[in-house]
Structure formats: C-alpha cells, structure tokens
Amino acid sequence: MSKSEKFWYLVIICLLLISIVVALMLGVTFIPFGQVIQSFANKNATQYTVLFDIRAPRIFASLLCGAMLAVAGALSQAAFRNHLADPSILGVTSAGELVVTVGSLLLPTFIGGKFLYSLIGGGIALLILTNRTILTSPYRLIIVGVALMLTFSGFQQLFSNGVGQASGSFNGITWTNSVGLLILGVSGMFVAVVISPWANYLKLAGEQLQTKGVSAQFMRLSLLLITVYLSAGVTSVVGTIPFVGIVVPNLARFLVGNDYTTLIPMSMLLGAWLLLVIDTVGRLIVLPSELSAAVLMTVVGGPFLIWMLQRKMLNGIQSSQF
C-alpha cells in the first residue's frame, strides 16, 4: 500500500470514529460526550435506553448498510466494466423490493423471507441485464437499468398502496434487525474482500483471460452473486437507498486508485461513513420529524452523478461486453 493510500485510510478511519461519537450525542435530546461515556458506564436508565436501544442500533445499521451498498456497487462496476453500474440504478434493488412486497402479500411470513424475496428479485433483474444485446453498449446497460428500476418501483408502489412502509429509512431499526444485517454484511463483505483480485483480472478482455487459463464468466458471475447478496441484505431490512453504490466507489477510486484490492476496503469504510452522516443529518434536519436516508441520498447522489458525467471521469466506459 502506498503512502497516500495509507494516509486516506487513516483519515477515513478517524472521520468514522468521530462521526460515530457525534451521531450518538445528537438527536431530539442532545447528550454531551461526558454523559455518553457515563451512561454506558453506569447504565443510567433513561439516557442509556436512548443511547443503547434507539441510537446505537440505528448507527450500527447505517454503518453496515453503507458499507454493504458501497461494496456491492464496486463489485457490480467491476463485473459490468462500467463505472455507473450501481445496483440501485440498474433496478436490482427495486426488483428486490417489488418481490418483497408481492411475497409478503401472497405468502405467509417466515424468518429470512424478506431476504430471500429480495435475493430472487435482484437475481431476476440481473438475468435481464446480462442479456448480450443490452451489454453491447455501456450506455444501453444504464438506460435499460434505469427503465427497469422505474418499472419495478412503479409496480412496487402499485402493490404496496396503503400497506407499504416508509422505504429507505433507518427509523425504528432494532438490534434484532441489526444482527441480521451483521451476519449478511460481514459474510458478504468478507467474500468480497477475498475475491477482490478477480475484479482486477476482469479489466482484461474475456478472450485474453481465457488464454491465461481462467474463466471470465465464472469470476463475473461470482462478483454479481455477491452484489445481489449484499444489496438484497440491505433491501430486505431498510428498502432501497439509491446512489451509495455509485458515489462511494468512484470517490474511493479518486482517493486510492483503481486497484480493487484497496478500493473495496476503502469503499467499505467510506460507504459506512457516508450513510451514517446522511442518516444523522436526516434525523436532525427537520426536527421533530425526520428525512429518510433514501431521500437525502437522492439529493446528494443525483448531482454527484451529473457532475461525474460532466467531468468525463468515465474513462473506461467504452467496453462493457462480456
């Protein structure tokens, strides 16, 4: 790892730690730093409940979801060879949400049901996207992806009319939800880090990889499976949070370069930090009410995407072919 990479890792870890403490302090009632420490030490009844049962699981969940979505974005960008290929833009997450909604309406609930439904939905979206005609042009991929995303969310709204819950928000998250996320997130991200060199190999053309004795298809499929696994994990617990998977990996690329073995861990940290900040701001901005992380992420992510396209930061976008 180069000196500048180490520097950015250090900066983001410090930012992350500071943001966690600040997020614990801020809320409807402000709890000063000293009291936060005291409450955890003495388990003081009222403040301890606010901190441990309300704020902590929410912070924990936003950190995990941010990291998971960012890693899913980085993997999907590598697999599609397209810096814009974020699961939320491609309709992978909204397909998940649609199947969750339909599944909950038609079938009885069971443990892990929501995750299974969003996994199925994401898989369907990917099946459509990996069609050869769609992959001939990187822009066609994005346009079809956006069309899928809008179609799936349209249907989702149709089915959820009246019975749906606020999507893309961390409001009301409990430790039970967070533990589920922890298991999915840690397992998915662990595999992502282990297979991150494959994301680098996929920068070579499929035919070339074949002459080097490895299968591009297999590596690409593995990256996409982890992409769906991670984004389905988030969708099943909090719904769709857009743009994390596009903003974060591209920022990470800007900071630490194109090597996925450093880019993926950096995306993880940066994604965790970004979503924590977004959720904390959302909690405070319209007190006593709040804005969902999804809404705020759209406000931040949309302009970022436009800026990215205008800066022509998409040097490699010409080839997305399998």
Partner: protein
C-alpha cells in the same frame, strides 16, 4: 504443433481457411505473411485454442488442442494480440502477474518476486509500478509480451506485434524476440506486416493467400518474385541492397 487438414469458417460465412496442413518446427521462429483478410489471425487463434476448427485438427503434442483445458493450454501457449484492451487501469506488474494465473489457484496471491524475471526480459523493471495507460504504445506492447512470457509457454504467438509502433520500438521489440530465441527453446509464431522484417527474422515462412497455405519454407527459398507477386497481388521486385542483402520492394504498375 501441427495443422491437420484444418478448415475454418464462421457460421453462415465463406471459409476463412481451407484445408491447411503443416507442421510448426519446435524451437524456431515462424512468420506468417500474406495480404489483409487472408486468414492469418485466424491461424493464430486456432493455434491458441480461441477458435475451434470447423473441420480438421490442430495438434499439440499429438493431441487436439480442443482436448486441453484452458489452464493446461495457458502453460504451453501464450498469445499477444495485435491490440490489447484494458478496461479501467492497472499497474504494469499486475498485468504481468495475470500471466501466472494458470500456475495458481484463482484465490492465490501472486508475489512480485515471481514476475521480476519477466519484467527484466522485457526491459520493464523501472516501469513496474507505473499504470499501463500512462505508457507509450511500444512500452505497452512490451508489457503484454512480458505477461505472455510469464506463462512460460513453449509456443509464443504474436499477432502483428509491430504494426502500431514506430521504427525505434519495432527494432527494440525485434531485438527482445531475437534474444528470447537465443536464450530459450521457445517456438515463436508471428504475423508480420513488414515482409522484409519477416524474411530477416524467421527460420520459416508461411505464405497465406485467400485462406490457403501457398508456401511454407525457409526464407532463402521464398525470394521468388512471381510467388510473392501472386500472394500479395501486386508487382514485387527483389532488389540487392549493399550491406543489407536482398530487399523486397513493391513497384506499383501505375503511378498515382
């Protein structure tokens, strides 16, 4: 390696290659020459196992190339394409490391030490940590060559390796290939655009026209004005150049 009555055509298209039979002598440099579209690159792709013959067989150690797994083939045959695409960006040393993939499990970490030798062979030691897109065309071509060498192949295939290079880089690359040929018993099969380069460098020439192997022989036996004129469909003259020897020149029938 050997071509045994090999024909090839893309589905619903006219034949690209027609019943080619020839042996590739081991440890030699073989150049394939012929006009554009005559099927030269197809020959190389068949040798590398990228394409499968429509009929006939390409044999490696008396076994059909199609019977080998990609991994087995990668340790025996390496190919450097005419133009190599890379999506995004990669360090020089990481591109070279991809040449070692066939010797490892897919999850293994390949160390820098393992590829130092190939960096040296392709004169890239100082550029190891540079990003490949920041290099000149000639330097990039050497990176792809080093990556192919890292496969430790018995057969090295190069598809017009000098086409996009200026004269300086062309002779630099030729010098590296010559050195390789002297230091190892590697068989090198190249497609060359420059006929004179092919005559000087090779132990054997394959002349291809319209998907057929018109001649395969030592360069000394191929200085045949009529043969070359018919292959390239133009008026070829062989002239004597002092301190160089025989030089093949195209003398167009009509002036522009």
């Amino acid at each position: 390696m050997e071509f045994n009555q090999v024909s090839f055509n893309y589905p619903a298209h006219a034949p690209v290659l027609h019943r080619i039979s020839a042996r590739i002598p081991s440890g030699k440099i073989i150049s394939i020459i012929g006009p554009n579209g005559s099927g030269k690159s197809t020959i190389l792709k068949l040798l590398a196992g990228i394409l499968k013959p429509t009929s006939g067989e390409v044999l490696l150690n008396h076994r059909s190339v199609t019977d080998y797994s990609h991994k087995q083939l990668a340790t025996q045959i390496a190919i450097v394409a005419q133009q190599n695409v890379i999506y995004d960006d990669m360090n020089v040393i990481d591109v070279i490391k991809t040449g070692r993939l066939a010797y490892h499990k897919l999850l293994d970490v390949i160390s820098d030490e393992e590829v130092v030798k190939y960096l040296k062979q392709a004169h890239l030691t100082k550029l190891a940590k540079r990003s490949i897109t920041s290099l000149s065309g000639g330097q990039q071509q050497r990176v792809w060559l080093a990556s192919a060498l890292a496969q430790q192949p018995d057969y090295l295939l190069l598809d017009e390796p000098t086409t996009y290079l200026d004269i300086h880089y062309q002779s630099e690359l030729m010098a590296i290939l010559n050195q390789l040929h002297r230091d190892s018993d590697m068989t090198i099969v190249l497609i060359l655009h420059d006929v004179n380069q092919a005559f000087r460098l090779s132990d054997e020439l394959w002349l291809i026209k319209d998907g057929q192997l018109v001649a395969n022989d030592r360069p000394a036996n191929c200085y045949d004005r009529q043969l070359l004129s018919s292959v390239f469909n133009t008026n070829i003259q062989i002239i004597e150049v002092p301190e160089y020897g025989r030089y093949i020149a195209e003398i167009p029938d009509s002036k522009f």
